[in-house]
């Protein structure tokens, strides 16, 4: 057994007091204490010091400290942390649900916010373009149209030759006269109406050609005008006598009823559009300044006909929408039943609209 010196023993005082010494070392220390009174006295004094520390008075926090702590926590909170988390979660949930519902409805109705905006922008720009055209450009366009109206003349020449071969010289002359008069009528119509947009020319041209075809019945097969739903249903920028820009016609729509409608507000227009043209983007119409006239021919199962707008005339007490029907020949309908329609924006006037079928 190694003899423990007093210094070594003193190093074990803390462990001895805290009862952390192994049994053997504890016994050794107690043995040493019996032999060494100085160490024993020192240990007693050391123990007293530790006991004094353990029995020092305990201080208590201010009774109001809980309020102060909670006030500090409240002050340190950021603005969103001050709301009740349950209320906050609920609010976010409701907002998300509303947004989802709106987009869901749009998807269900086949409309799209982006498409609507694009159509609105396109309508605005077309209106601006229409207004920007001045009289100078008007004249040049009319001249161009006159030049291009020579094309139908050429067509009529070919028809003449074919008619000669058929041996009907007299009827040829009559037809020639008729075509000439029709040409003049078409030209007059163009000049009177002061048509401004290039697209209008194509419409005018087809109108003239159609009229020619009607007058020359035997040559109908040669004058094939192919209608397709996509081509005919595209919007046409055209200024009517009442100075409105929007016009659209087509052979297919979802309305199977024969009816003529005048629309004066956005809501009715939306309803009509959803009912009849849900597959297409709805155009923007300024109902403060314009109204819409719509002609539906209904389902054309046998001998289908198309609408030809003859003109929109503003009289003292009414607006007259004159239109006629023409037969559609050799049209590829791909098995679909035709439901021709004609939509036209007209300048808003506080007089009734009358549809006249010629």
């Amino acid at each position: 057994m190694i003899k423990k010196t007093c210094t070594d023993i003193r190093e074990k005082f803390s462990d001895y007091i805290d009862e952390l010494l192994p049994e053997q070392e504890m016994a050794d220390l107690e043995m040493h204490m019996k032999k060494c009174p100085a160490c024993k006295k020192d240990l007693e004094s050391f123990n007293k010091t530790v006991q004094v520390l353990k029995n020092l008075p305990r201080y208590t926090a201010h009774p109001n400290i809980i309020v102060r702590i909670n006030n500090r926590i409240e002050k340190n909170k950021r603005w969103w942390q001050r709301f009740n988390p349950k209320v906050l979660k609920g609010t976010f949930g409701v907002i998300t649900a509303v947004i989802l519902c709106v987009f869901g409805l749009q998807l269900y109705n086949g409309t799209n916010v982006v498409d609507i905006l694009r159509v609105k922008e396109a309508a605005k720009t077309s209106q601006e373009n229409g207004a920007a055209k001045n009289e100078k450009t008007l004249k040049s366009e009319v001249q161009q149209k006159k030049r291009k109206s020579a094309a139908p003349k050429a067509q009529t020449a070919t028809t003449e030759r074919k008619a000669i071969t058929a041996g009907t010289a007299e009827t040829e002359r009559e037809e020639k006269r008729k075509t000439e008069t029709e040409e003049k009528k078409a030209e007059d119509k163009i000049t009177v109406n002061k048509v401004q947009i290039a697209g209008e020319f194509t419409v005018g041209k087809t109108d003239a050609a159609e009229q020619l075809r009607q007058t020359s019945q035997p040559l109908e097969k040669e004058l094939k005008l192919e209608y397709t739903a996509k081509a005919s249903s595209s919007p046409v920028d055209r200024l009517s006598p009442l100075e409105s820009a929007y016009e659209q016609k087509g052979l297919y729509c979802k309305n199977s009823v024969v009816e003529n409608i005048v629309i004066k507000d956005e809501k009715s227009f939306e309803k009509l559009w959803a009912k009849c043209f849900s597959e297409m983007a709805k155009p923007f119409i300024d109902f403060k300044n314009e109204i819409i006239v719509v002609i539906f021919l209904g389902e054309q199962a046998e001998s289908p006909k198309d609408i030809i707008l003859q003109g929109i005339i503003s009289e003292k007490d009414k607006i007259k929408v004159k239109y006629s029907l023409k037969s559609i020949l050799n049209t590829d309908t791909s098995g679909k039943i035709l439901s021709p329609y004609y939509i036209k924006a007209v300048k808003k006037l506080s007089i009734p609209v009358e549809f006249i079928k010629e």
């Binding site: 003193r10 190093e11 005082f13 803390s14 462990d15 805290d18 952390l20 004094s45 050391f46 007293k48 010091t49 530790v50 004094v52 520390l53 353990k54 020092l56 008075p57 305990r58 201080y59 208590t60 926090a61 201010h62 400290i65 809980i66 102060r68 702590i69 909670n70 500090r72 926590i73 340190n76 988390p85």
Partner: protein, 185 residues
Amino acid sequence: MVFEQDSDLLKGLKAGKQHYFNQLVFKYKDKIYNTAYRYLADYQEAQDITQECFVSVHKNIRKFREESSLSTWIFTITVNLCKNKLKSAEHRNHEKTLSIIEKALDVKDDRGNPAAFVEKKEFETRIQAELERLPVDMKEAVILRDIEQLSYEEISKILNIDLGTVKSRLHRARLQLHDALKGVI
């Protein structure tokens, strides 16, 4: 007052229930205040540290990974706050708010005998003064072991040192206090 177990308190705290936080404050406020007071020997600063400690607990309770017990974590926060306060110039230039009146209000003692009370106060002031003379690492070992009576393992975790270091620091601190207080005790 009967308090919930620390594990139950912790669940309530993590769920953000105010009632559990109030319970936690009531359970630990005096321990934290006493520890802070022994560290800083200043009534007002000990109050501030106690408040800061609980604000920090409230803020960081969701980050607490339960690698130690809740009480160990709270003591770790307190010790760190006290150490930072001791290092700050604010503390060094601070005039101590250690009036006898304030202490008399706080200390639970026998105020029936004024002479004994004053004597006791003087004795305690002497011990506190000797505590303050100790280096911080030794002082905190004494405060946590002898005054707060925490286990060596808890002290080891709070101070982030091994058990042997805790023992040696504590023994040296006790020896120094014993030598310094020989004439008094």
